[in-house]
Amino acid sequence: MRAVAIIALKEIRDGLRNRWVVATTLLMTALALTLTLLGAAPTGAVGTSGLSATVVGLSSLTIFLVPLIALIISYDAIAGELERGTMALLLSYPVSRGAVVAGKFLGATAILSIATVAGYGAGGGALAIVGEAADPEAWAAFSTMVGTSIALGMVFIALGYVLSAAVRDPRTAGGIAIGLWLLFALIYDMALLGLLVADQGRVMTAGLLNVLLMANPTDVYRLLNFTGFSELSQFAGMAGLTKQVYFGTPVLAAMLAAWIVIPLGGAILLFNRREL
């Protein structure tokens, strides 16, 4: 456990040194503030809008941005260190491979959490100061959004480690990471939509759709945020889907957790089997 903490702290320090934390925090703050202050544009008026619209906007942003950042900070973690020779050195120390992955994971999660909380927090803060008073439910939705955004980031950090543990060349891992991001953030949903339209409800039952949505962590994230709060699902245009969703919040949360734990375990397993 001690080793895990030491490695996690080094990861955080590296993140601060490499300006990763600063860059991602600034990016997320800028985008969050933009969305917050201009968030009502889709509803027709420019100006501060309700918290709910902001949550919807930020959630959509998260689906593209957070997985990308998470994959960028994770794909190199194992393959890159193996290539630079520092991994062989680290493993000659009294540290297990599992502890190395766990330490790196905690460190990367901390970096992502700092960026997310600071960035989205700034958006929420701005709204609290200049905006109209929002009801508690909207704030609960906001907190859920921040928490699940971090969880979504953890999913993609873990997926990045799987790549990094499985692939020999870090550049290959980088390429696959981009593919993975495109798949989960963009292609999967488009393909699903296309399938729904083409199929006209013959084979694609609501049940099958639900299962297929679970197979993409960004969709689990979307459902968690948009279907849990009735007002949000209106804004997000997912009211129709909400009625079809079988799974409640606990199941969805468990699903997201599984998306973190299983890839992380897989990464440790792959790394343990890897020949140096």
Partner: protein
């Protein structure tokens, strides 16, 4: 001195079809300085990785400080092992001091001991600078520094002096000397025996994944039986005389008009010299060339290839 620290029994390691190490048995003791010599790809690094427990042997056993280094429980004994990888790019964004502190904490060693290690390897002045600003020699010194954390009982240095300047090489050897005097086992690998000069008590030669020689330098010299070359330059007036003397018993070769070269076995050296100098030959110069470390090394490689 202190007992056996590293034991390999018939250890083999395959990577798929590729055989990296084949049936190697050896015992290393405390206080020994061992040179592990072989071509690139002869299995040196694999052997070191086996000792570190970074990889498991395909067959045979490996014991370091009485434990199987690849077992989880061996994380304890690893605190007493120092390792210098062949090529390591240390975190450029950290300072030397920070990096050493990180490694000391991982080894459960007091960070307070680090300044002493840094000055021992000669980079105390750069401790607060980022590694990105270090020269190659300084990076290698820092890499050595991390291997010295916690007074290791076994020190495994993978090609530590390749491409280093002589000053740094001397620092390396004096530290190696000091540690082995304290009872540590120090293993240095290299692809050229001559690079390790006479800094080792024992030489292990690897070739094509197998151990082909193991012994002290004197023993290897003896076994190799490489000829000693004696170069004799005679005076002007004796140019034609020498071949006659030589024809008696010695095999000689004319190098230039006045110089002759005689090859003989190491134990015949003195006899030959006496024979050459005993007559009334006027000799201008005598040069004795002992087989170099590279000659001896080459002997074992070719002897192996000839079989």
């Amino acid at each position: 001195m202190s007992g056996v620290t590293v034991v390999l029994r018939d250890a083999s390691k395959n990577y798929g079809d590729h055989v990296a190490v084949q049936g190697v048995s050896l015992e290393l003791r405390g206080g020994e300085r061992i040179a592990l010599v072989g071509h690139n790809g002869a299995g040196k690094s694999t052997l070191i990785k086996l000792m570190l427990g970074l990889i498991r042997p395909t067959a045979g056993t490996v014991l370091v400080l009485g434990e199987d280094p690849a077992r989880r429980a061996a994380t304890k004994s690893r605190s007493r092992i120092g390792y210098l990888p062949e090529n390591v790019a240390l975190q450029p964004s950290m300072t030397g001091e920070e990096l050493l502190a990180f490694y000391a904490r991982l080894k459960h060693q007091p960070v307070a001991a680090n300044p002493k290690i840094l000055s021992r390897v000669g980079i105390a002045h750069a401790a607060h600078r980022r590694i990105a600003t270090y020269s190659k020699g300084m990076r290698q010194r820092l890499a050595l520094a991390q291997a010295l954390i916690g007074d290791p009982r076994v020190l495994l240095l993978d090609e530590p002096t390749t491409g280093l300047d002589p000053a740094l090489r001397q620092t390396f050897y004096s530290i190696v000397q000091e540690l082995s005097a304290q009872g540590a086992t120090v293993l240095l690998s290299s692809h050229a025996l001559s690079e390790l000069e006479t800094q080792t008590d024992r030489v292990i030669v690897m070739n094509q994944s197998r151990k082909i020689a193991d012994g002290t330098l004197a023993e290897l010299r003896q076994r190799a039986q490489r000829p000693v070359r004696i170069k004799v330059t005679v005076g002007d007036d004796h140019v034609n005389l020498f071949p006659k003397i030589g024809a008696n018993a010695l095999e000689w070769r004319r190098v230039s008009e006045r110089s002759f070269e005689i090859c003989c076995a190491e134990h015949e050296k003195v006899t030959v010299l006496r024979q050459v100098t005993s007559g009334d030959l006027s000799i201008a110069d005598v040069e004795i060339v002992d087989p170099t470390l590279d000659d001896i090394y080459a002997h074992f490689l070719y002897a192996e290839a000839a079989e």
